[in-house]
């Protein structure tokens, strides 16, 4: 209503409803234009200018069409709880919600109590249709969430630390006592990924088909699940951690460490892309907003921080501790601690998270994992006594795109999608902090060392430049060609000198390195007693 009134106040010619539609479309068009067009006026090249102008128009048309489609084909809007008067949204209990919602939705409120194989961890498929649950004591289950049908459950008789779906519900990986395993839907063990070791946390990068794992020794591994190739194996060097989360926007894996640092990794670099000190205490949980710009971390020092990853700055610091964090598709943040789950919401649009809802489990239930179910207003909670599901209005995306994720997928569609996604599989090197920069010009500062060939070429050009110089004639009798030639030679030598010197320096440094290495290498035992004792 507020928006409507504002428009009225502007007093535009269009009737209010149409005006609203136009405004809405405009914002959507802006979204699909993906940024401003370049200023073509500065271009000198008329042809290019013309081409770009045509291109821009096409983009505009496309964006407009897309906006229209979005407007008319995605009609459902997400709702959320609205409090009236002194009411507070976080005081509204699940029971109160259950009374209001339809039967189908109320079915999503339940507690599954499985006290024996306890604490449970959960993972949903991207469509939200299936859920994998893993009990610490070896219980693995795949559940169809639509009809609450247990597809398969197995007991692996080993500690299971984490479970994650691969590209579809047919496969899932479980981090067990010593190695992670890959099972299919029927519970058949397909692979034992021994190289990963005792994995604490698993993540699957859907667009890259990479299974990322962090093991007990702080080793981060990436394995391509299509080829089985080990893409990356890095020692974090920051100790043991079980806090790992993939940034859905760019595929960068973030790890939370005991020093309060969060490191972000890509599979083709052995050093972290970013290392940031997020908390004073050890990082206990980590979550990314679906748009990739926001990161929530919680530390043992009882602070939850929300970071803007574009600026690497804290947006908000909230008090409290979190064992687990999760962002919903619509940007709600679930915080699980003890037996209490709190939902924070950002309704002002200024990234100011405030309390939205809360839910406390039965006493003694330790929440181990919270996970929003995609395309549903449901939050799955894995805890020490099983798992629970509660309704969080406004958490899920109301409109699904069947090309992206289809909760009502048929097996044929699934098959087709599998093939398509395999064809669209991204190579691991495309994981970078800003994937929109792919195809752009490489920044000059990051220039690699000039190759030997390039150096040689530079040297040659320098020498050539000298050769082109005409020497001044000296006074009569002093003007000897031999001297001229000599002088020229000298000049050339002088021009070449810096290049050669540099080369020499490099070689020297290389030799030094080699020497160091060889020093470290052993002396024959007979000479060892003459070796200088190293000062420690």
């Amino acid at each position: 209503m507020g928006a409507k009134e504002e428009n009225d106040a502007h007093g535009n010619i269009l009737p209010p409803i149409e005006q609203e539609i136009v405004d809405e479309l405009d914002t959507k068009v802006k979204k699909y234009l993906r940024g401003e067009s370049a200023n073509l006026e500065v271009l000198q090249d008329k042809k290019l200018k013309g081409q770009l102008a045509v291109r821009e128009q096409l983009y505009g048309k496309s964006a407009k069409a897309a906006a229209k489609i979005e407007k008319w084909l995605m009609p459902s809007e997400g709702g959320y709880l609205e409090a009236e008067g002194v009411e507070k949204t976080w005081r509204i209990k699940q029971e109160a919600i259950a009374r209001e919602v339809d039967i189908l939705s109320s079915r999503n409120q339940y507690d599954i109590v499985l006290p024996e194989l306890g604490p449970y961890t959960l993972d949903f498929t991207p469509s939200g249709r299936y859920m994998a649950a893993a009990g610490r004591k070896g219980h693995l289950a795949v559940v169809d969430m639509k009809n609450m049908n247990l597809i398969k459950e197995i007991q692996v008789r080993e500690t299971v630390r984490d479970v994650v779906f691969l590209h579809n519900e047919l496969f899932f990986a479980a981090a067990q006592k010593k190695y992670p395993y890959i099972y299919n839907r029927d519970g058949t063990e397909l692979h034992c990924l021994k190289e990963h070791g005792a994995v604490l946390k698993l993540q699957f990068l859907r667009n890259h088909f990479l299974l990322a794992s962090i093991n007990k020794f702080g080793q981060l591994r990436y394995q391509d699940v299509t080829t089985g190739e080990m893409i990356g194996n890095f020692r974090t060097g920051l100790g043991r951690t079980d806090v790992m989360q993939v940034n859905p926007f760019n595929g960068v894996v973030a790890l939370g460490h005991s020093g309060g640092t969060v490191t972000m990794w890509k599979p083709t670099m052995a050093a972290p892309l970013v290392k940031m000190l997020c908390n004073q205490g050890p990082v206990s949980a980590l979550a990314f907003h679906p748009n990739g710009h926001l990161m929530a971390t919680s530390g043992k020092e009882r602070k939850i921080k929300i970071w803007d990853l574009r600026k690497y700055e804290v947006v908000q610091t909230l008090p409290g501790h979190a064992k687990t964090l999760d962002f919903s598709q619509k940007g709600l943040l679930a915080v699980g601690t003890g037996s209490f789950v709190q939902i924070l919401g950002d309704f002002s649009g200024s990234q100011n998270y405030t309390r939205y809802m809360g839910h406390s489990m039965a006493k003694g239930y330790q929440v181990g994992k919270v996970s929003f179910r995609p395309y549903e207003d449901v939050l799955g909670i894995g805890h020490s006594m099983g798992w629970s599901s509660i309704l969080i209005p406004g958490s899920g995306e109301p409109n699904f795109d069947s090309w992206v994720a289809n909760p009502f997928e048929t097996s044929k569609q699934r098959r087709e999608k599998e093939v398509r996604s395999l064809l669209d599989k991204l190579p691991p090197e495309t994981i970078m902090l800003d994937p929109t920069k792919i195809g752009a010009v490489r920044s000059a500062r990051n220039k690699e060392k000039p190759t030997k060939q390039e150096i040689d070429d530079d040297m040659q050009t320098a020498a050539e430049a000298i050769k082109g110089i005409t020497m001044k004639n000296k006074t009569k009798g002093r003007n000897k060609p031999s001297k001229k030639a000599k002088k020229k030679q000298e000049l050339i030598a002088k021009a070449k000198r810096p290049f050669l010197e540099q080369q020499l320096k490099e070689e020297e440094s290389l030799a030094k390195k080699k020497q160091k290495l060889s020093e470290q290498g052993e002396l024959p035992s007979s000479l060892q007693r003459f070796a200088r004792k190293k000062t420690t």
Partner: protein, 926 residues
């Protein structure tokens, strides 16, 4: 042609003039007649005529020609002359004298035209000058006759009358003069009319231009001539024409120099062509600007079926025509229609044809026969030179053919290959023939020059033929070897003890050799030092001992091999790959495990069971062996030669079966093998053992340890012992205190700072401080006081500054709590462009231009096609026709451009299919 046309035109013009003149004369005729009647014939008249002629010849033929050019005088001058003439009319005596002087240079006028020059005609005074010119008259008389042939003929009839007329005219003129007081010239016009008839008897040509051109004094105008015609039919027409001509007449200027002319012409042509070409501009521009150009205008590809193509076939060549005439013959067609019987009739061959055919065949046969005979004769020729020459010719021809024809070249290559193979097989040229053997037996030196040369040549040929063989052998040798090895493997796999025993024997031999070798201790160098030599001795002893041990082992294993030849096989069946390593663990595991711990953490875990170890050994065993061998070789190089030799022996042994052992171990699974292997390992590990680094366990700090215990005690957590109340109930200050306590001494920020500094130093290394190497760059101690040379300091400063700048430029320069790695990901380099693609000049514009994805996943279906259209759309088989001109409104088009996207463009482009290829040349011209 042009010339002719021009002339015709001129003639026409002249005719018009003539016409006018004749008319004039016709109408003046009655006058004349009257005059004639009046006049009386006189001698004087005749004389006058003669006089006239005489005057003409006066200057001589050559001079007269010049005279004709008189009219080219500037008109002003001519007027002056005329004025003088008219003035002189009164006192003719003087005048007559003077006129020739004035026209002195005109004397060269051509004779034949002089008559036309009527200036002189009216002047009767010449009579009086008679004495002057009289002499010449007779001399030039013959000339005169010739000259006046045609005119004279005409005149002869009228002569009498004319003369009378002349006389009359004179008088009449004078009379008029007397009456009016005007100069004679004013009245001349009338008289001239009469003269005109006479003078214009010349043939019309450009050499005798019409009169007014000649004298140009304009005394008689066209109007004058027209006047008498007034009121006659056709007058108005004539007058109109005259007027038109007057209007049009302009002065003609001298033509410009040729170069200038051409330049102007070119300029004009250029202007014209420019204009011509500019009309293409909008069209070309449109085509250039169009994002896509379509060539699918006419989709009719012509013939589609074979039948259609056949029906459209038209015979073109002679042969085809003949065929068509035969095929389409009515008779044949009819015959086909009815039945085959008629075809037979049609098939009849005439006797002549048959005879011709027969004769032809006979002729060919005889030719063939003769050819054969010739070949036979040639074949019988025994002359070597002849055949050599023949062969040479043939080779030459073949060489040419090879160059021309790839098929022949291939054939030739094959032949060569065959020859080579043959040579390799037969060794025909390797002095294996009887002849060669005999010669060799007798000794080469005894032979004469020719034989030696022949043998040499043969050998050379052999070398030539086998050269290729050698090269191929080199390349294939490896594969041969490998196959040999494979064979050996197979043999061994088939429990071939011989192979193994052989290997052992070989090894034994080698060790023995090493033992027997007497090593001389070097007398000089580092190795000659007493402690070194001591060390060497010690080492040698060790080595010898080892060698002995190895020898013993070899022997024992050899024996065992021989003993248990029969027992081997069953054992293979029972033992598996894993089980093999059971007994080995005695010695091997120590080393292997140590190595393993380097790269495999899992083993250090207490939870690890035996199986893991086993499997690992399975993987690592061979690696270990090889690693050891490698390390050996590395250390050996540093070590003394003695050791080297000893270990080389081992090395060889180990290496020999090295490639195989992996499978050997698994397959044989015999204790002996294992033993041997382990022995090797132990040998190799003896000096390695010192090297083995303790596995660096990941250092967990206290917190982690705490976590570890957490996970250990997970069972407790399940029971729900932990307090369930929300933790917010904790009092915050106390919590903070707790944290402070928990992380006492854990200054996270400082640690991070340190970390950051470290990384910064790593990525932007601190420049090394310059320091002088003692003795370098110094002559005496005096210089030392000066300190470092300035360039060194400068360089250091520069490097420092550079580093600082680099640090400032870093993205994390202002973020205390963030380290953003500046490291380059080489693999991701390929995802960026090194340079801006061509038309772009600014990075921003380029990046902006690629910001929108183009694929079907990111765009609505309506826009995808437009976004991904190719530059040129063309269906296969369409002929791109040259560009055709068509009117294009550039402004309108651009608007359209803006207004609509793809559809319009394609539509618009449809109209001008085939433009693109043709546009270019047009543009180039302009």
């Amino acid at each position: 042609m042009k010339e002719k046309k021009k002339r015709n035109k001129k003639i026409d013009l002249c005719y018009s003039w003539l016409f006018a003149a004749t008319i004039n004369t016709i109408y003046s005729m009655p006058d004349e007649k009257r005059k004639v009647a009046e006049a009386t014939a006189s001698v004087k008249m005749k004389y006058n005529k003669k006089q006239k002629r005489q005057h003409k010849k006066h200057g001589g033929s050559g001079d007269d020609k010049r005279k004709r050019r008189g009219p080219r005088l500037p008109s002003s001058m001519r007027k002056a002359l005329d004025g003088i003439n008219s003035l002189n009319r009164s006192d003719e005596d003087i005048d007559s004298d003077e006129t020739p002087d004035f026209y002195e240079y005109e004397e060269q006028l051509p004779q034949e035209e002089s008559k036309k020059n009527r200036r002189f005609d009216p002047v009767e005074n010449y009579e009086y000058e008679l004495p002057e010119n009289f002499k010449d008259e007779n001399v030039l008389s013959d000339d005169d006759d010739d000259e006046n042939d045609d005119s004279g003929m005409k005149r002869s009839s009228k002569q009498l009358g004319d003369d009378v007329e002349d006389e009359d005219d004179e008088r009449h003129l004078r009379m008029l003069e007397g009456i009016t007081g005007m100069p004679t010239t004013a009245f001349e016009g009338k008289k001239r009319k009469k003269n005109l008839i006479i003078s214009e008897a010349y043939p019309e040509s450009e050499f005798n231009p019409s009169r007014d051109v000649l004298d140009g004094n304009g005394q008689i105008s066209v109007e004058d001539l027209l006047e008498p015609l007034q009121g006659k039919s056709g007058y108005s027409k004539l007058r109109k024409r005259m007027q038109q001509m007057h209007k049009k007449s302009t002065s003609v200027q001298a033509p410009l120099p040729k170069a200038e002319q051409e330049k102007l012409e070119r300029k004009a042509v250029y202007e014209q062509s420019k204009k011509d070409i500019t009309k293409w501009e909008p069209l070309v521009k449109m085509n250039r600007e169009a994002p896509t150009i379509c060539f699918d205008e006419d989709t009719n590809l012509g013939f589609s079926t074979v039948g259609a193509i056949a029906s459209a076939f038209e015979p073109r060549t002679e042969f085809e025509k003949k065929m068509a005439s035969l095929v389409n013959d009515d008779k044949v067609k009819e015959a086909h229609k009815e039945d085959g019987s008629k075809l037979l009739e049609l098939n009849k061959i005439s006797v002549e044809d048959y005879l011709w055919d027969r004769n032809h065949i006979a002729k060919m046969r005889s030719l063939l026969f003769r050819h054969e005979l010739k070949r036979k004769r040639i074949k019988k020729i025994k002359s070597k030179t002849y055949h050599r020459l023949l062969k040479k010719d043939r080779i030459k021809a073949a060489a040419v053919e090879i160059l021309m024809d790839p098929e022949a070249a291939k054939e030739e290559a094959r032949k060569e290959e065959f020859k080579r193979a043959e040579e390799r097989m037969t060794l025909k040229h390797k002095n294996s023939s009887k002849w060669a053997k005999r010669i060799l037996k007798r000794g080469l030196s005894v032979q004469d020059e020719g034989t030696r040369a022949a043998i040499d040549e043969q050998l050379q040929q052999h070398a030539l033929l086998t050269r290729k063989m050698n090269t191929t052998k080199d390349s294939s040798s490896s594969s041969d070897d490998s196959s040999d090895e494979d064979d050996a493997d197979e043999n061994s796999a088939g429990s071939d003890q011989d192979e193994a025993s052989k290997l052992f024997a070989k090894a034994k031999e080698k060790t023995l050799k090493v033992l027997e070798e007497d090593d001389e201790v070097p007398n000089s160098g580092v190795l000659s030092l007493p402690f070194m030599s001591r060390g060497l001795k010690k080492r040698k002893e060790e080595a010898i001992q080892e060698a002995k041990l190895a020898l013993q082992e070899y022997e024992s294993s050899l024996k065992e091999l021989e003993d248990s030849a029969g027992e081997e096989n069953p054992r293979i069946g029972t033992t598996t790959g894993r089980m093999v390593f059971g007994p080995v663990k005695r010695e091997a595991p120590v080393s292997s495990k140590k190595i393993k711990t380097d790269n495999y953490y899992g083993n250090s875990d207490s939870e690890d069971g035996l199986e893991a170890e086993d499997t690992d050994v399975g993987n690592g065993m061979n690696d270990d062996v090889q690693k050891n061998v490698k390390t050996d070789s590395v250390t050996l190089h540093e070590d003394s030669e003695v050791r080297d030799s000893v270990f080389k022996g081992f090395d060889d042994i180990v290496r020999d079966p090295g490639q195989k052992t992996s499978c050997d171990v698994a397959i044989f699974a015999s204790g002996k093998w294992k033993k041997m292997k382990s022995g090797n390992e132990v040998d190799a590990n003896i000096d390695k053992s010192t090297k083995v680094v303790e596995p660096s366990l990941p250092d967990h700090d206290l917190v982690e340890a705490g976590e570890e215990s957490d996970t250990d005690s997970e069972g407790q957590m399940v029971d729900g012992i932990l307090s369930s109340g929300p933790k917010t109930s904790y009092e915050l200050p106390s919590q903070e205190e707790l944290i402070r306590l928990a992380f006492a001494g854990d200054d996270v920020e400082e640690d991070f700072e340190k970390d950051k500094q470290e990384i910064l130093n790593q990525e932007n290394p601190v420049p090394e401080k310059p320091n002088l190497i003692p003795g370098w760059g110094q002559w005496t101690h005096i210089q030392q006081k000066k300190g470092l040379p300035s360039w060194m300091v400068d360089e250091h400063e520069k490097a420092k500054r550079k580093r600082e700048e680099a640090l400032k430029k870093r993205k994390d320069a202002h973020l205390k709590h963030v380290i953003i790695s500046e490291k380059l990901d080489k693999k991701a380099e390929k995802l960026h462009t090194k340079t801006l693609p061509y038309p772009f000049t600014s990075k921003e514009v380029f990046e902006q231009s690629i910001r929108v994805p183009v694929g079907p996943e990111f765009n609505p279906a309506t826009a995808v096609g437009a976004l991904n259209q190719p530059q040129v759309k063309k269906k296969s088989g369409i002929i791109i026709k040259p560009i055709k001109f068509e009117e294009v409104n550039p402004h309108e088009k651009t608007e359209e451009h803006k207004r609509s996207g793809q559809k319009q463009k394609t539509n618009r482009n449809k109209g001008n299919g085939g433009k693109r290829t043709q546009v270019r040349p047009v543009v180039v011209k302009s």
